[in-house]
Amino acid sequence: MTFSLPWPRDSVLTFALEVAIVAGVLLVAGIAMRRRGRRPFGTRLLAGSGIAGGICGLAVVAAFTVAPTLPTPFVPITEQFLQNPVSNTPENIQAGRAVFQQSCALCHGPQGRGDGVAALAMNPRPVNLQLHVPQHPDGFLHYWISDGVAGTQMPAWKGQLSETQIWQVIRYLRELAAGRS
């Protein structure tokens, strides 16, 4: 499984910019303090400016290597730790597959790669579930399927699918993402 930061690239870049400002403030303060004769204070401020610059550099590197490019859609804290009540049996996975092919494959594609027939007309495109499912716990997936995702065309399925069906789909998605289905 690939490591990725819990913050999207834009957030990490904003953080890097803020730390760069901190480095600038410390640099100016350090020079000013040394000129006023407060050399130990000024020297450490300059060293601090270097440390902040280093943190800024690390953040920029992280932004373009391990930070995801999409923000994680909101999930209430009460939903984040839900456990899948449906057992991991071939029957449930098969039932999940049937629901997926009927309700989800049109946009997410028959293999969940985000390449369904309807995906071409969508902005943003449906996500590649094989890539994204392993990065999120069950509670997150359950909330996004149940309540939809704001700012996208992912609808809320809780009126159309039963709780059991939603959890069965999640069981199937785990198998699909693991390459076992």
């Binding site: 913050w7 999207p8 957030s11 904003t14 910019l17 450490r44 401020l45 601090g48 902040a52």
Partner: protein, 44 residues
Amino acid sequence: MNFTPIEAHIIQGPLDALIEFGMPLVILGVLWWWARRAEKKEPK
């Protein structure tokens, strides 16, 4: 450069926004405090 709109912070949650905007201030505070210690340690 395309910076995060404020809506993205609301979507991510207040904890993420707090970390993103609060951490640089914490870094500034810690480094400033560390620099002041050098001055206090200096023999007179």
